[in-house]
Subunit: 338 residues, 2 copies
Amino acid sequence: MIQTDIIIIGAGPVGLFTVFEAGLLKLRCHLIDSLPVPGGQLTEIYPKKPIYDIPGYPIVNAGELVDKLIEQSAVFKPGFTLGESALTMEETPEGHFIITTNKGTQHTAPIVIIAGGLGVFEPRKPPIENLEQFEDKGVEYIIRDPEFYRGKNVVISGGGDSALDWTIFLIENKIVKELSLVHRRTSFRGHLDSVQKVMDMANSGKINLITESEVTGIKPNGNGHLGSVVIKHTTLGDIVKDTDHFIPLFGLTPSLGPIADWGLEIEKNAVKVNTFDYSTNRKGVYAVGDINTYPGKLKLILCGFHEGTLAVQSAFARIFPNKKNVLKYTTVNGVSGF
Amino acid sequence: MIQTDIIIIGAGPVGLFTVFEAGLLKLRCHLIDSLPVPGGQLTEIYPKKPIYDIPGYPIVNAGELVDKLIEQSAVFKPGFTLGESALTMEETPEGHFIITTNKGTQHTAPIVIIAGGLGVFEPRKPPIENLEQFEDKGVEYIIRDPEFYRGKNVVISGGGDSALDWTIFLIENKIVKELSLVHRRTSFRGHLDSVQKVMDMANSGKINLITESEVTGIKPNGNGHLGSVVIKHTTLGDIVKDTDHFIPLFGLTPSLGPIADWGLEIEKNAVKVNTFDYSTNRKGVYAVGDINTYPGKLKLILCGFHEGTLAVQSAFARIFPNKKNVLKYTTVNGVSGF
């Protein structure tokens, strides 16, 4: 069991800065994140993109900002449980919390700060009966490793950049044996050059482009694995297509994930907090950054910095009810780490 | 009359960043500051000191941070009225505000955001009857220009660095004709080397060091100007000393200054705001940064950044009650200035 003062769920920019502010109060932190590295969305979604609204940075790349925040918090030696998602939160009779991850790692602390960003990204699934029965048996919503599809027959559905880009990648790299791209409309929502490439591939017979159609049914092969899909054309009726894999790429929607079951007040897919210390309805549990909501909430990194700072002040008062905490300015005293 | 969307009182770090956030919403700002340059306390009090708690900056000099904030806000071309203090705030029948400075410059806008830091620094005055009658007639609390005292007889009172440093400066640069330093105790609170220098000056007869004494009275000369001071020794009784100037240097205390008379709810020498949008009790008037107070308030620059950001969102809704403002991320759209 990992013991600490504050368990922080989420190692994005706000979680990282919260470590720093907690450290100034001599509180130790341990961060849990489902991603394999710290940085959250900044590392995962847009590491090379510039951000212009971090105070004091006229421009900064997301990845560079994460590096700076890791450096800033490093003096307070946070612990990390990475590549694991926080699954359950239990409360002990003494009012401490036990957080257990999907891999069974356990953490305990008197304070939990949820800095989970937009939460867990869940795939949008097409409304096909029995779809979920074929998950990991030929139906995948995310292409994690393209090599997994080498020499296979694949049906992709979707009309956005993800469907287009993976189609191009799997064909250009000669990975799949046969690829069908199924799309409800005749036009695509992706970048113009991607659309052009896919059209060229269709015209030269490298892919089957099946528009004005959608996959409406799934059938198993003899082993209970996916064997074929039913493709329904708007006017022409159904065809059945044999395939090894069906990959609906309809985008990812953020969801609170397991946190939704932790007994916290939820509003608009976010954790409700008050604006005095960003505490939730459960004493000792705070939520900061994009995952919380309150009147006037803005989902900005700079707001999360403020929220984390006020949350650890409140956490300090909760852990040490009789200790007076006088705000010390780093300008006067500097920073001494652990 | 200077017209703008938002008048910001105070050109410190929080005022400057508020310009940037207002600019993202296409709102123009004009800043008023009594100091001759932007930056507030960071420029005035500790430009060379490092700050460690600006998110994303493991360390940054106060002066460097101000430069970055000026650069960040420059794209939105703020106006500046510098070296003048905001004196009065009037409201027009249409609910706009007119801010007039001590030099008579007038500004009007539908929104006022007070980012006044610790406010105005006011001198601590000794309890001498009629002291204020002699202000600018021989009594000064701040030495603005040492040359003003050339060839004069001067009485300084105080036991801190300010009293010691000015004594040393005025003597070493042979500015004054005669200098008496009056202090209530025998020991000083200043830096050891300053104390030593002043003691040496006293021993060599370059100054009159009068300890265990305080100035208790003031007398005019024939012209209504200061003519002499009464110095009371703890045990030896009073002496009357002729002098051209009496300069009590007992330090500066921050005060709200004229803002205290603007009809705003005040608490603990700060402007009370709510935590949803940092608005005051007067509609259209906000207070952000060190000058405001609310439950849980921390006087940190990073909190002021958050407060200014939420305040301009609220200001936008007030100026354009029927316009929907959708939060745009700079990462996606970049920043386009005025």
